[in-house]
């Protein structure tokens, strides 16, 4: 129990085979009191949520809602070992994301035909995919852009590593392939299992990233259109997104999507609201660039899951629509500058500077904190955080309105994951090595999501280039949403083996090397 970073054996907090931790971390008086106050805040958010009878009703209707019992533990996992500014940055982000998800759930259940059945509200709802850039909603401030998949699968797996297993099994019971990506498979499983809220004037689906995504969307849209009577638009963004010749087609898809929403909701596109959102997107981009700039120096500040989880939420799901995220960006940047000026570190020793590439294991997002605490490997940035930095037009002029359509198309093409897993060799392979140089990294942690066909084809090419450049390349296999295939310890073992056999190093915190957390949330 210590104030100093890295003085504790964090593995001692785990109970062998347990679902939860023995106790919370003592971080010294000031940081413990801060963490305690934020825990109280989370409890207040959850308390406010369950005060509404319809939310309690939903808790007893939807299987995935049980995962929300684990909300405080998710925060504990991501704040593990953190002190000072790093702890505060993590809470700024996580607590805001929790509030935003609570609002999302509340809205879903308000309009849900089975729960709140507020039909007037439902007419203002546009459903979107979980893994979809929400740029086409930037000009509809009076409509509610809601994703059913975000709370049922995406957030659920962050909360509980086993959350998607039931739905993956349901999808496979109905004959869907077992080797497809478990994320869209679980989303399809939720729909097949009749476990998705039913609401909305219309839905926009996107050809996200892969064959699995198309499969999942097909299953979901069939039920939405034929059973629930909710029309669905398929936003097919080009995969070769760096090519000039696809941009006009991409822009036309955006125009069509906007026209579809206008037709089914009766609400007209609002340019003033769009440009206001564009201004916030630009601000978020500038902040992210400043954090990444710091991460190129010996004193990185916003990195690991502090960078990854927040970027995913802010860039794709929020996309300038929620002013609270702009305020959070400002506070995070202030904390990061403060720590940078004092040359602060998040662990007692930084041994390796790593770029984390590929699609991360979703059931083990706090692995990035583990890398730092156990082995002193600093995850400077990750593939999903290296998204578009293009400045959007902010001023409302006739020319800018036309450019804005292309800006939205660009964002949609460059949504998280697909901007790297598709678009050619350069975005996935070449730019990785450019980043290793820019960030002065000596190591690449390369996630090999075994069901992701987009990445497996390049395995040998990654190895060849890493060898040429003298970069330590550590492969980490996983199956994204399914810890039954490779467990969290299975993930850790791949790092442990590399660090011991190739690097001949001892861990900074040996208590974290082997953890019996297979039953844990």
């Amino acid at each position: 129990m210590a104030k100093e970073i890295g003085a504790d054996r964090l593995g001692d907090l785990y109970i062998d085979g347990g679902k939860v931790r023995r106790r919370r971390e003592w971080r010294g008086l000031a940081d413990t009191m801060y963490d305690y106050s934020r825990w109280l805040g989370i409890m207040a958010t959850l308390g406010k949520f369950v005060m509404k009878p319809r939310n309690v009703k939903a808790m007893f209707r939807y299987r995935w809602m049980a995962n929300y019992l684990a909300v405080p533990m998710m925060v504990d996992r991501h704040t593990q070992g953190l002190r000072g500014e790093y702890l505060r940055i993590c809470h700024e982000e996580q607590d805001l994301v929790i509030k935003d998800v609570a609002k999302l759930l509340d809205s879903l259940f308000r309009g849900d035909r089975r729960i709140g059945n507020d039909t007037e509200f439902s007419k203002k709802v546009v459903l979107v995919d979980e893994n979809e850039m929400t740029a086409v909603m930037m000009g509809f401030p009076t409509l509610k852009c809601l994703s059913r998949e975000t709370p049922s699968t995406y957030v659920s797996v962050l909360l509980n590593q086993h959350a998607a297993e039931h739905y993956i099994d349901v999808a496979q019971e109905f004959g869907l392939a077992g080797d497809v990506c478990p994320m869209p498979e679980a989303e399809a499983g939720v729909s097949i299992d009749d476990d998705a809220p039913v609401l909305g004037a219309c839905a926009i689906q996107c050809n996200t990233t892969c064959d699995g995504s198309l499969l999942g969307n097909g299953v979901i849209s069939r039920r939405l259109e034929k059973e629930d009577g909710i029309p669905v638009f398929q936003l097919a963004a080009p995969l070769r997104h760096r090519e000039d010749d696809v941009q006009e087609y991409a822009a036309q898809e955006i125009r069509n999507a906007i026209a579809f929403i206008e037709k089914h909701t009766g609400v007209k596109w609002d340019w003033k609201a769009y440009f206001e959102c564009a201004r916030r997107v630009n601000y978020a981009t500038r902040c992210r660039q400043e954090w990444l700039e710091m991460n190129r120096t010996p004193w990185p500040q916003v990195f690991g899951s502090n960078l990854a989880l927040y970027t995913e939420t802010n860039y794709m799901a929020i996309c300038g629509k929620v002013p609270e995220f702009e305020r959070a960006d400002r506070r995070i940047t202030k904390l990061a500058r403060q720590a940078y000026e004092k040359r602060k570190m998040a662990a007692k020793e930084y041994r390796h500077r790593a770029i984390v590439w590929g699609v991360q294991s979703h059931f083990y997002m706090d692995f990035l904190v583990w890398l730092l605490n156990c082995w002193g490997i600093v995850p400077l940035t990750d593939m999903l955080s290296m998204v578009s930095t293009r400045e959007l037009k902010e001023e409302d002029t006739p020319e800018n309105r036309e450019t804005a359509i292309y800006d939205m198309a660009w964002l949609t093409e460059n949504m998280i994951m697909r901007n790297r897993t598709h678009g050619g060799y350069r975005v996935l392979l070449d730019e990785l090595w450019e980043f290793t140089q820019q960030f002065n990294a000596d190591m690449v942690i390369l996630w090999e999501h075994m069901s992701c066909k987009a990445l497996t084809g390049m395995h040998g090419m990654f190895e060849d280039r890493a060898r040429d450049l003298g970069i330590h390349l550590v492969w980490v296999d996983h199956d994204l949403f399914d810890p039954r295939i490779i467990s969290r310890q299975g993930v850790r073992d791949q790092i442990n083996n590399y660090m011991r056999t190739v690097m001949r190093e001892e861990p900074l915190d040996p208590s974290l090397e082997v953890l019996h957390d297979e039953e844990s949330w």
Binding site: K19, V20, R21, R22, R23, R24, W26, T32, Y36, W39, L40, M43, M59, F60, R61, R63, A66, L69, A70, P72, M73, D76, V170, F174, G175, I192, D193, D194, D195, V219, R222, W521
Partner: protein, 55 residues
Amino acid sequence: MSKPVKILLKLLLVALGLFAVTFTVYILNLDMKLTAAIEPFLQKHYDTIERNRHL
């Protein structure tokens, strides 16, 4: 002791009591231990819900 001081003292005692209880729950992770105990019952309940399962 004057009345306002007594009220203040009582408020302070209540605040201290609340702090002691909530901090104990926080540091010993009792909230998560409780919800972990509830979860299996919820799972059994979900299995009993009738569903229209199909592709």
